[in-house]
């Protein structure tokens, strides 16, 4: 086989490297500390991996493209379809558009203690959105749909803040979200949204 000599060469190189590594004098204290540092790093990585792979806690990473210049012509982000919607099985999706200088619709109601999936798009430049005290946070990059699923534990009125510099009016870019106790929340009726005044 052709791989024989290559394998031999690699093994030789590995042995050389190991020999060289062992030749360096490392103080036993230093060795202990390096081991402790390695264990600390391994612990953190372990926790993150368990969260990501077992509990499915991931940053928004859906790599889904959209033409930001033609949002109004897209089916999903046409004005009538923005805001809170529930599908047949009760899953809640919130579609939001970020544009200088607000988030649209400007006010939405969602239930507490219920998973809510947000889908954010930008109609112009780079934005970011964060609802303080929650992990509803994502960058909104023009050309991409940013999707985040989260559950709000506590009812209340929260601001929705743009947290990425988007121009001189960046400070003014914000909107509101009301998190309503689960039992008091009613799914919006689709026909009420179409053409309704809620979207300001």
């Amino acid at each position: 086989m052709e791989t024989g000599p290559i394998k031999q060469k690699l093994e030789q190189q590995w042995q050389d490297l190991s020999l060289q590594l062992r030749a360096i004098p490392i103080n036993p204290l230093e060795r202990k500390w390096a081991t402790i540092a390695l264990l600390i790093a391994a612990l953190f990585i372990g926790i993150i991996m368990i969260d990501a792979l077992v509990h499915g806690i991931n940053a928004p990473s859906n790599v889904e493209t959209i033409d930001s210049a033609r949002l109004h012509l897209s089916e999903e982000f046409a004005e009538d379809n923005l805001g809170v919607q529930t599908d047949g099985s009760g899953l809640i999706t919130v579609r939001m558009v970020a544009g200088r200088y607000s988030f649209f619709p400007k006010h939405i109601d969602v239930p507490a203690e219920t998973p809510v999936t947000f889908r954010w798009v930008s109609l112009d430049v780079l934005h970011g959105v964060h609802i303080p005290m929650t992990n509803m946070s994502t960058m909104i990059v023009p050309g991409y749909v940013a999707q985040v699923t989260t559950t709000f534990p506590k009812p209340g009125d929260y601001p929705v803040l743009c947290n990425e510099y988007c121009g001189l009016g960046h400070n003014h870019m914000w909107s509101n979200i009301s998190v309503i106790a689960k039992e008091d929340w009613a799914a919006p009726v689709k026909s009420a949204i179409a053409g309704g005044p809620e979207n300001e």
Binding site: A41, V125, A146, G167, L168, G169, W174
Partner: protein
């Protein structure tokens, strides 16, 4: 003769660095004042964002790059005991970089480049800003070339000999910077400049952000490595002791360079254009690169302990008291390590993939990087300046007491500034806002912290003025006959007589970096050419 020429070259670079620094300090204090809303007359988002953009460029690009170049030239000639290779080229690089800074400054100061130092396409600055930034980088590449040539020539002339640690670290930084700056160079040359000139109609912000992330993490190691170099090669000697381990120091620099590069996606955790697997991979590397910092902390503290015990310190902690706290280098390293502990803790929070969502782009982030950059790193730039000034000028420092006061006040000011900044982030305040106009009760809880930041900024500004005053007074003082001070490099506890090649050269590591970069960035960059992306046209601000 040649020594005088190199000293002039180093001083020229360092003065540009510190000139940029003091200007940016004044802007910083204006920014905390404007942001607090305390003085109505100051309120102006256009001035604020022009100032933030300039502050960022001056501190992150000008202070650092010029400091690193000037420091590097002096390290190379003194540690290798070699004349500078190609002095005209070095001055050429200097003037190219200065021209770049001046070009970039014009649109920045006139409010035509308020895109912050991280660029943020598709918002667009005047094309001159991008060209200026490019020239600054090109000038710094000249420095990289000179460092690498001097390193190689010394090795040829001294086969089998260990390269002095100071030069090993400096060359590591030159290589790191070549690899690091490639990402932003690609973004500027193929996306930002063509868009600003109208050669292309649109760019993909997702690709731009990916390329910038390539640069955005290792650039902080480019800034940090001179501070670590001072930790290893000056501090032990100044404290009156020895470097604990020379070999482990080299290993730390190598790990910083190799693993500092392929991990930039921790800046993109919250971005939709990269998939979770790549982010986790980069997150993994981010924790690996915390190792050299853990090791550096150990080695530096162990070196200090040796010094403290040699000076008669007894008991478990007695050696700390017997350290020469009135030596500016020793004081600076103690304060630097204190800030590194807290800044490092914040960094681990940021690096933690899911936890990052709570603090991403909040005030926590500038709080973190001011602590770790303006604190840990820049305080060592001060210490190096205090150490080098008498050597470069052949005059004693104007006031050693003033230097100590300056270092303490910098530490105190940084504590007062960054602690509330972190808290504001936890209270949900976004970074990069020029004033708080959200009509929401939450913002009431922000007020006291913003006021504290003004005080912190004032202390820092005062401290920065003391620093510049001390250096300028030294420079302007009359020449003292017979004043001689030479640069002294720390001796390791155990002299290094021979080293395996991989601890004395970068050929192997360059190959490792190439492989790691291909793994970490290959698919994430290529994906933009295989999926249907939609470009963005340019926007003003």
């Amino acid at each position: 003769m040649n020594d005088a020429a190199v000293r002039k070259l180093a001083l020229g670079h360092l003065w540009v660095a510190f000139g940029a620094f003091i200007l940016a300090c004044f802007m910083g204090e204006y920014q905390v004042l404007e942001r607090s809303g305390l003085i109505d007359a100051l309120e102006s988002s256009s001035v604020y964002f022009a100032s933030v953009s300039t502050h960022g460029v001056l501190m992150a690009f000008v202070l650092t790059t010029f400091f690193i170049m000037g420091f590097g030239y002096y390290i190379a000639t003194t540690s290798l005991k070699q004349p500078l290779w190609n002095q005209p080229l070095a001055w050429g690089g200097f003037w190219v970089a200065v021209a770049g800074v001046v070009l970039a400054a014009i649109p920045l100061l006139t409010g035509n480049a308020s895109v912050l130092y991280t660029f943020y396409p598709p918002i667009q600055a005047h094309v001159v800003f991008y060209i200026g930034a490019t020239l600054l980088i090109v000038g710094s590449w000249v420095w990289c070339l000179i460092m690498i040539v001097m390193f190689s020539r010394w090795k040829q002339a001294n086969p089998g000999q260990p390269v002095p640690l100071a030069m090993f670290a400096t060359t590591a930084n030159a290589l790191l910077w070549l690899w690091t700056s490639a990402g932003v160079a690609l973004e500027v040359l193929f996306q930002l400049i063509p868009l600003a000139l109208g050669w292309i109609d649109s760019i993909d912000p997702g690709l731009a952000r990916t390329l910038f992330a390539w640069t955005l993490h290792p650039i902080v190691y480019f800034w940090l490595i001179p501070a670590y170099t001072a930790f290893y090669v000056f501090v032990p000697k100044q404290a009156g002791g020895f470097l604990f381990s020379d070999e482990v120091a080299r290993a730390a620099f190598i790990i910083l360079v190799v693993f500092g590069l392929p991990i930039g996606f921790h800046h993109l955790y919250m971005d939709p254009e990269q998939a979770a697997g790549w982010k986790l991979l980069h997150g993994f590397g981010t924790f690996v690169v915390s190792l050299p910092t853990f090791v550096t902390g150990f080695t530096v503290i162990a070196s200090l302990e040796i010094a403290g015990r040699l000076r008669g310190g007894k008991g478990l902690f007695g050696w700390i008291g017997s350290l020469p706290w009135t030596n500016s280098m020793v004081l600076a390293v103690i304060l630097s390590l204190l800030m590194l502990i807290f800044g490092g803790f914040g960094g681990l929070v940021n690096a933690s993939y899911a936890m990052n969502a709570m603090v991403h782009n909040t005030a926590w982030v500038p709080g973190h990087f001011h602590l770790i950059f303006a604190g840990t790193t820049v305080i060592m730039y001060f210490a190096v300046a205090y150490y080098l000034w008498p050597i470069l000028l052949k005059k004693p420092l104007f006031s050693r007491e003033m230097a100590l006061v300056q270092l303490w006040t910098w530490f105190i000011g940084m504590t007062i500034l960054t602690t509330p900044w972190h808290i504001l982030g936890l209270l949900g305040q976004p970074r990069r806002i020029s004033s708080v106009v959200y009509n929401n009760l939450l913002t009431l809880s922000w007020d006291p912290y913003e006021l504290a930041m003004i005080v912190g900024g004032l202390v820092l500004l005062g401290s920065a003025c003391l620093f510049i005053y001390n250096l300028a007074k030294t420079q302007l003082s009359p020449v003292q006959d017979g004043f001689v001070q030479e640069i002294e490099y720390a001796e390791p506890l155990h002299a290094v007589t021979s080293l395996p090649e991989y601890l004395n050269d970068f050929k192997l590591w360059n190959k490792v970096i190439a492989v790691l970069m291909f793994i970490s960035f290959g698919v994430p960059i290529l994906q933009f050419f295989f999926i249907d992306t939609f470009g963005s046209s340019a926007w003003g601000y």
